[in-house]
């Protein structure tokens, strides 16, 4: 381990401490910054000297930013942190709805908003809350509430959440992963216990030992990851759920190394929109804002049959070709012709490797497949699951990794037969 000499900076550690807190703010805003980087940054500032603001900016930038998409966040946090403290207060007041009052309407940019939240968080922790009554009791209750909150949020319906809870839920959603079973490919790769003999590797190894074959190199079929296609209903009856699912989708699409070769996203209300390209934006707020601009039919009516028809005709051959898993997120409340809906569902089912239907209506205990749209769609899905809370989305992870899982489909079909 590298040993560090004592840090000697002018102004006796004041600036080091500031850099440390700045790094903590960046970490809050989502940048992966470890202690090592903080030490590097302090050393770098020491080396460059604290002379010009621009140099200072780029010195810290060099130490803390490691991906292009982090530049915006860094810029905003830097602007907020290293400037006039009065601006800080202004931003803080913007973030606190209670104090906001009749202040100027100003829409914080996506990264700025998160930067401000990150800074606020640190500020709250340092400063005692001015309004809160003093006393240790208060703190204790607050702490236990925090512990329980996450548990409660897991099972709480998205529609019943307050704004703060939704924000918290979004943070939790970003942590969920959607593990997937890899598929065997026809291409072989070296494997110690493979069945097939790798003649080429065997001979090469033999030649290294002068033509003597001492062991047989083996190979086995390799693995590949399937694609995920998500069709998300964004009509009025679904709006809160689809927002959360899109957050979830963004997290899944941008997580590295968890499987899924490619994640395609589509939204539909009255018409189908491909939002795959927008999902690639690293910043979730930017991504969803762009997707929202693209999809003009937010919170409108639903035409599931027509939208699926558009998907089947224009996209299914392009995105379902490599054994894709399809995740259909809709409540199934469609007033159009159910004949078309059934036909299109059948076609979708036939072209997808697996079709999983997430229905937020399933949250109710007494949910019965009564609506004609739901009855038309049910026979054509592989799995039918709830999608109204974080816990249910976590359950989805399990459903996807288990190829035999069908969720509530069997019960629903039985109910449909009865009446």
């Amino acid at each position: 381990m590298a040993s560090y000499a004592d840090l000697t900076l002018p102004e006796n550690g004041q600036i080091s401490r500031n850099i440390l807190w700045f790094a903590r703010a960046l970490r809050k805003a989502g940048l992966p910054i470890g202690t090592g980087r903080v030490i590097d940054a302090i050393r770098a500032v020491e080396a460059v000297g604290f002379t010009e603001r621009r140099d200072f900016y780029w010195t810290l930038h060099a130490c803390f930013v490691s991906r292009p998409e982090q530049r915006d966040t860094f810029n905003q946090v830097f602007r907020l942190y290293w400037r006039d403290p009065r601006y800080m207060e202004h931003m803080m007041s913007l973030m606190m709805p209670a104090i906001r009052g009749v202040q100027e309407e100003r829409r914080a940019e996506a990264a700025e908003k998160r930067a401000a939240e990150a800074l606020l968080d640190g500020a709250n922790r340092d400063l005692p809350e001015p309004d809160s009554p003093p006393g240790e009791e208060q703190v204790e209750i607050d702490a236990s509430a925090t512990m329980a909150r996450e548990e409660r949020l897991r099972t709480l319906d998205f529609e019943q959440m307050s704004v703060a809870e939704l924000a918290e839920a979004r943070r939790m959603l970003a942590q969920i992963s959607l593990p997937v079973q890899p598929l065997p490919t026809r291409r072989h790769s070296p494997a110690a216990l493979g069945r097939a003999i790798d003649a080429r590797a065997t001979l090469r190894a033999a030649l290294r030992q002068g033509g003597e074959i001492t062991h047989l190199a083996r190979r086995a079929p390799g693995l590949r990851w399937p694609n995920l296609v998500v069709l998300c209903d964004i009509s009025g009856s679904m709006s809160q759920y689809s927002r959360m699912v899109l957050h979830f989708l963004h997290a899944v699409a941008n997580r590295k190394g968890q499987g899924w070769a490619q994640v395609h996203g589509f939204t539909f209300g009255t018409r189908l929109t491909n939002i795959t390209r927008h999902l690639r934006a690293r910043d979730v707020d930017v991504a969803l804002a762009a997707a929202g601009r693209e999809a003009q039919d937010w919170s409108g009516g639903t035409r599931i049959g027509a939208s699926l028809h558009a998907f089947n005709r224009d996209w299914s051959r392009r995105v379902l070709g490599q054994g894709a898993v399809v995740l259909l997120v809709t409540d199934g409340l469609d007033r159009d012709d159910t004949g078309q809906l059934a036909r299109e569902m059948e076609r979708l089912h036939l072209s997808a490797r697996r079709l999983i239907w997430l229905n937020p209506l399933l949250r109710w205990q007494g949910f019965a497949p009564k609506a004609t749209g739901i009855r038309a769609m049910m026979p054509h899905v592989d799995a039918f699951r709830a999608g109204h809370s974080i816990a249910s989305l976590q359950g989805l992870a399990q459903a996807i990794s288990d190829p035999g899982d069908s969720g509530m489909r069997a019960q629903m079909l039985a109910q449909m037969r009865q009446g």
């Binding site: 026809r186 030649l207 005709r313 392009r318």
Partner: protein, 303 residues
């Protein structure tokens, strides 16, 4: 050896002489590909004549056609070259039997071209009688992304690398044509190295020319009806629209049945030649076919 066409018009006539009626845009891109020596990337629906253009080019220019059909799991061993393991083993055994096998010589001799089984990509890098071959990499979207990455070297530098042997470079770059049905997007890195063209369905006049070139036995009147009906079908909301290949197939079916003019019954009996999905066939069968036929009859009255 047929000389390379010197202009876009020359390409158009060259292709037309061999039964391929190419629109101006396609002729242009083929000409550019030949002139600049860049691979040609053709994308389009199934049955619009993407593969056909490679075949026709090979015949027209008198070159050998080397075809690499892509499939899932295609690897370097089946695309570039494979070592003849059995022959290598025999060589080792005979060297041992002869006694005092020279270990070092064995090393250099075992991995020579004598033991190499050529596959399409390597074959395309070799000089061929009649000039550089036409390399057709068909249905690229069927293979996976790792293989695409392997193609990058072959397509940009016209060379392939065999680890044991080294790099083999084509003395004269082959004419490369890649096709894709777009069941997935091909990576930009590969597209960047190619000239791109989207092959669309032809318009009625051109389809009539194609039918005349490919199915000359058909009566003028029947051809016109066939083309009008297929064109009309393409404007319907179908899951899979019929391609040019289906038009030609259908014309041949109708000729085999000695049909002189289209009737709803004949259409119903032979619909399987143009529509390949049950949903589509159900939609068109019966009264719908009659309605479409009546429509085109009305439009076709002035001959």
């Amino acid at each position: 050896m047929t000389p390379m066409p010197a202009s876009i018009d020359a390409v158009e006539t060259l292709l037309a002489d061999h039964g391929y009626v190419a629109p101006r845009a396609l002729s242009t891109v083929v000409f550019l590909s030949l002139r600049l020596g860049r691979p040609l990337f053709l994308e389009g629906e199934a049955g619009v004549g993407k593969t056909e253009i490679a075949k026709v080019l090979a015949i027209a220019l008198g070159r050998r056609l080397i075809r690499l059909q892509c499939y899932e799991g295609l690897d370097a061993a089946s695309a570039v070259a494979e070592w003849n393991f059995a022959a290598q083993m025999i060589a080792i055994r005979t060297a041992e039997a002869a006694g005092g096998a020279d270990r070092d010589r064995l090393k250099t001799e075992l991995f020579t071209e004598d033991f190499l089984i050529e596959r399409p990509l390597l074959a395309a890098m070799r000089p061929q009688p009649g000039g550089a071959p036409v390399l057709l990499i068909d249905e690229l979207d069927r293979t996976d992304e790792p293989f695409e990455a392997y193609l990058l070297e072959a397509l940009s530098d016209f060379q392939v690398t065999i680890p044991e042997l080294g790099t083999i470079r084509a003395p004269e770059p082959p004419i490369v044509i890649l096709t894709s049905n777009r069941t997935r997007e091909v990576h930009d890195a590969l597209k960047r190295r190619c000239l791109y063209h989207w092959v669309d369905y032809p318009d009625a006049a051109r389809e009539l020319q194609i039918l005349a070139a490919r199915c000359p036995e058909a009566q003028e009147n029947l051809s016109r009806e066939i083309v009008a009906f297929v064109q009309r079908l393409r404007s319907e909301d179908l899951f899979k629209k019929p391609g040019v290949a289906e038009t030609i197939d259908w014309a041949k079916c109708l000729l085999a049945l000695d049909v002189i003019a289209l009737t709803p019954e004949v259409i119903a009996d032979t619909l399987g030649a143009i529509l390949k999905y049950q949903d589509d066939i159900q939609k068109i069968q019966g009264s719908e076919a009659k309605r479409l036929l009546d429509d085109i009859r009305k439009e076709m009255v002035p001959v």
